[in-house]
């Protein structure tokens, strides 16, 4: 039956004898009889490995969407994942370990965490990063909680150009904490139009590039905010070519790290990035690895500043986060290590090259125009008379894009969103244009 239990009948008898109990059922005598009596099984027979393998593979096959060519981004992107990432993640010393509480036998994990933190600092232009948060949306929510603790304010300025699902997660967290979300509108370029800043503002959020794919100009924002936090939600691939938000005085940079070597995975697991300035270190959530020495003076790593965390500070902890996205952060570390500075830049530029080539051709078609005039990297919104019909036409040709429903949540009517990564081929771009133009 249970193939993962090694105990033989003899083992069980010997252990029961040592414990002084007649049978296994006696081990559960402390569960009230009434509770045990109410128990109902699922009605599931045990299955063999071949059966389970076929069954689950059948479910995997059943999703037709895998065969669509993904010009679909909207927060998660189909970048190339080098197989070496998977090979390293498959080392069971990494994936079958727990959180590195026992530093002496967790130097592998603690070392890559330290590397990851360094890389995130380098990308974001900030001084300290954790390893890691669940995803970009909850990382952003935690950043807002941190901003409130630091500033005492309870109003959060949220652009209408923020990813609508990220905004929905933030809205849940904000409601629970009694925070007020105030919309920041966008202009014709698709960039934020920051009006007056309410007195009790704890943070302004800017997504970079924003949900429409448009590059926001971060200059001068922090100066207008004063002590209120500038929180920038980034696509880390874009930081290969964009100036790091730290340079513009950002207090916290968060982001969705899926693009750094993780597959789309139907949206999970993801990777939340979180970086801040040293002055906010003790307000920061999440695990941090720090360098130290051992009893013989040899360099090594430990989990640092644990007094911020829930297992020590309990209700006064900076966050409740415990289990996070560690293995995904390892993937990101290996990915960035493999790319190097030139490779990261290349991935961003290759995606841009293809995206801008496609955009030029799409916008040359009659009836299609850019929804926004602002500069973009590798994702852009296309406005047309009947966006839903265009999206359906593309799908009939085997192409997926982000449909108009998502953009409508941001107040954009009749548009769809197209993302182009380095994986898209000239043939796929050609197919896209032909499909959109209605040529069979």
């Amino acid at each position: 039956m249970n193939p993962y239990i090694p105990h033989t009948e003899r083992d069980i008898e010997a252990m029961l004898r040592a414990v002084g109990l007649p049978d296994v059922e006696a081990l559960f005598s402390d569960i009230p009889e009434e509770v045990r009596r109410r128990f109902r099984p699922l009605g599931l027979p045990p299955r063999d490995e071949i059966w389970v393998s076929r069954y689950i593979a059948g479910l995997a096959e059943r999703s037709t969407g895998r065969r669509l060519i993904p010009f679909l981004g909207a927060g998660l992107y189909d970048h190339y994942v080098p197989p070496l990432v998977g090979h390293i993640l498959a080392r069971s010393e990494f994936y079958t370990a727990y959180t590195p509480y026992q530093a002496e036998i967790s130097q592998g994990t603690l070392t890559w965490m330290f590397e990851f933190q360094t890389m995130v600092c380098e990308l974001t232009g900030l001084e300290v990063a954790n390893a890691s948060m669940y995803d970009g949306a909850t990382a952003l929510s935690e950043a807002v909680y941190m901003a409130r603790r630091a500033t005492g304010g309870s109003t959060v300025l949220v652009p209408k150009s923020l990813h609508p699902h990220v905004r929905e997660v933030l809205a849940t967290y904000a409601w629970a904490a009694g925070l007020r979300l105030v919309d920041v509108p966008y202009d014709e370029a698709g960039q934020i139009q920051l009006g007056e800043i309410p007195a009790d503002t704890c943070a302004l959020i800017v997504q970079e590039p924003n949900f429409f794919g448009v590059i926001e100009d971060l200059s001068g924002l922090k100066e207008r905010l004063g002590k209120a936090f500038l929180i920038v939600y980034v696509n880390p691939i874009a930081l290969g070519v964009l100036e790091p938000p730290g340079k513009f005085g950002a207090d916290v940079v968060v982001g969705e790290g899926q693009v750094l070597g993780l597959p789309l995975s139907f949206g999970g697991p993801l990777l939340g990035l979180f970086a801040t300035r040293m002055e906010h270190l003790r307000r920061m959530p999440g695990r941090i690895s720090g360098r130290t020495v051992d009893a013989e003076g040899k360099e090594g790593y430990v989990m640092a500043l644990q007094t911020r965390e829930q297992h020590i500070r309990r209700e006064e902890a900076t966050s409740n986060i415990c289990t996070n996205s560690a293995l995904c952060a390892l993937a990101a570390t290996v990915y960035l290590g493999a790319l190097g500075p030139e490779g990261l830049r290349r991935i961003a530029l290759l995606s841009m090259e293809r995206a801008h080539a496609l955009a030029a051709r799409v916008f040359a078609l009659p009836g299609f125009r850019p929804a926004f005039r602002g500069p973009f990297l590798y994702e852009f919104a296309v406005a047309c008379a009947d966006a839903q019909a265009s999206v359906e036409r593309l799908r009939r040709h085997g192409i997926a894009v982000a449909g108009p429903a998502l953009l409508r949540k941001c107040g954009v009517d009749n548009a769809f969103l197209v993302a182009v990564t380095e994986k898209r081929t000239p043939e796929e771009l050609e197919l896209f244009v032909r499909a959109l133009a209605g040529k069979e």
Binding site: R47, E104, E115, H311
Partner: protein, 483 residues
């Protein structure tokens, strides 16, 4: 240990990437001058063999379940079946974008729906959300649900207190506080269980609920569980159950039958998905009927043979995850449930509890056992009084020399010098016996050769690390040489 930054040479590459077809400058013109990156991020520059060897070397400094016995209390470090790793890497799952139309992702929705149904059955509760990405995230979602429930009933801000036994995991009070509740600690009684009198004294109109871990972190089953949940419900409160310890009664009892309103699962504990060195896990929650209207959106519903996403829940707390939760973790958990079936799950709790009790009786003569009674899947010893000057930390570090991962130490806080031991069901008796032998030997060494404990570990990649230094002079990123 050198980092990747200490390896390689400027200009080295690990990947063959496509070439650009136009000059960089032409592309960069699309980026406004102010936003153009002026200097590249400092990332390592290594060849592919260097990179692979570096991480292979790092992996060898780690200890995982595949390395050896990992009796880390409260963490359920059971074996992670290899089949599941392959299933979670099927392109039909990994290459699927979560924003594809419903009809294109029916297989993935089937995984979510089936797992939800099984989790409802296991919890004995009518509703499930798979969105929480970890146990603590499940707790937070549960606290949000409690808050919404009372908001909807017009009982906020009056009901602002969450009762918590002093033996609770640290995530519990942290989650309650994050959701804006005030935490009120409940003392444990001499049995190590919730003090019923203290509970009654604290139950008033300000109580929103109680957070219980069942069995509790001493590994003891709350024998008065039905009385506790009845009292809380009578006072108008809700009962949250932390499911970290489900391995203790899987296939035998259901939280719904004990009076739980919310129960979170740790798929990375009970359902054998690997812990990944700190995640990702998954923390789905199951809820009782009164909380159904408040569950996160979207909900996965089945209509005939088709799966659909339902957003029409006007009272929902909203999303707690941008998509559907940690999907690939759920694939593994579903494979586990299907493999085991009812009988296999029942065997899990039997073997896990038997192994824990076996270790308990074999160690209790030598080590202090503050709560000496039938335990469930784990138990707590104290390292106190073994020998003058010996601390639990020393015992833990010495276990490393014997080839074992140490138990959880200094938790729960109500036991001094605690050693929390959870063997799980997947260890052969020979391994359990070898662990006992090592623990007994260490107790003897504590008296005869204490320096062996104080100087431990000797057989690890590094000697004992200076944590105070790491805190006093934090070095939290690579110190690049100047210039």
């Amino acid at each position: 240990m050198p980092t990747l930054y200490d390896r390689g040479q400027k200009g080295r590459r690990a990947l063959a990437l496509p070439e650009l077809t136009q000059p960089e400058e032409d592309l960069l013109r699309h980026i406004p001058e102010a936003m153009r990156r002026k200097s590249p991020p400092r990332l390592p520059e290594v060849s592919q063999p260097e990179l692979v060897r570096h991480y292979t070397a790092l992996s060898r400094l780690n200890y995982g379940v595949d390395t050896g016995f990992y009796p880390l209390g409260s963490c359920t470090m059971k074996y992670n079946p290899k089949l599941h790793e392959d299933l979670a890497r099927l392109p039909g799952f990994t290459q699927l974008h979560p924003l594809l139309p419903e009809e294109e992702v029916q297989g993935a929705l089937a995984v979510l729906w089936e797992l939800s149904e099984y989790l409802k059955g296991i919890a004995g509760l009518p509703g499930v959300s798979l969105q929480p990405a970890a146990g603590a995230h499940g707790e937070l979602t549960g606290m949000f649900l409690i808050k919404r429930y009372f908001e909807d009933r017009g009982e906020l801000p009056r009901r602002h207190k969450i009762l918590l036994p002093d033996s609770a995991h640290g995530t519990n009070p942290a989650s309650a506080a994050m959701a804006g509740f005030r935490v009120v600690a409940l003392p444990s009684d001499r049995r190590g269980l919730v003090d019923l009198e203290a509970l009654k004294r604290n139950l008033d109109e300000e109580v929103a609920g109680i957070m219980l871990t069942v069995p509790n972190t001493l590994g003891l089953f709350e024998e008065d569980i039905l009385e506790i949940t009845r009292l809380v419900h009578e006072a108008g409160g809700l009962c949250y159950f932390d499911g970290a310890n489900l391995n203790a009664f899987l296939g035998r009892a259901r939280p719904g039958d004990m009076g739980a309103d919310i129960f979170h699962f740790n798929l990375h504990k009970t359902f054998s998905t690997p812990h990944g060195g700190g995640g990702p896990g998954a923390g789905p929650i199951a809820v009782s009927a009164p909380l159904l209207p408040y569950l996160p959106v979207p909900e996965i519903v089945k209509e005939g043979e088709t799966f659909r996403l339902n957003y029409d829940k006007p009272k929902t707390i909203g999303r707690v995850h941008p998509y559907f939760g940690n999907f690939l973790v759920m694939v593994r958990a579903l494979a586990y449930i299907l493999t085991l079936g009812d009988a296999g799950m029942r065997e899990v709790s039997a073997a896990a509890v038997l192994a824990a009790n076996y270790l308990r009786v074999r160690l209790k003569g030598t080590y202090k056992l503050p709560y000496d009674r039938l335990c469930k899947h784990e138990f707590v010893l104290s390292g106190e009084g073994l020998a003058e000057g010996i601390r639990t930390l020393d015992i833990a570090k010495r276990l490393i020399d014997y080839g074992f991962h140490p138990p959880t130490i200094y938790f729960p806080l109500i036991v001094r010098e605690a050693l929390m031991i959870e063997p799980t069901e997947t260890e052969p008796k020979e391994v359990l016996d070898a662990f006992v032998e090592a623990m007994l030997k260490i107790a003897e060494e504590a008296r005869t050769q204490p320096e062996l404990l104080k100087g431990a570990p000797q057989r690890a990649p590094v000697k004992r690390l200076d944590e105070a230094r790491a805190a006093r002079q934090p070095v939290l990123r690579y110190p690049f040489p100047e210039g």
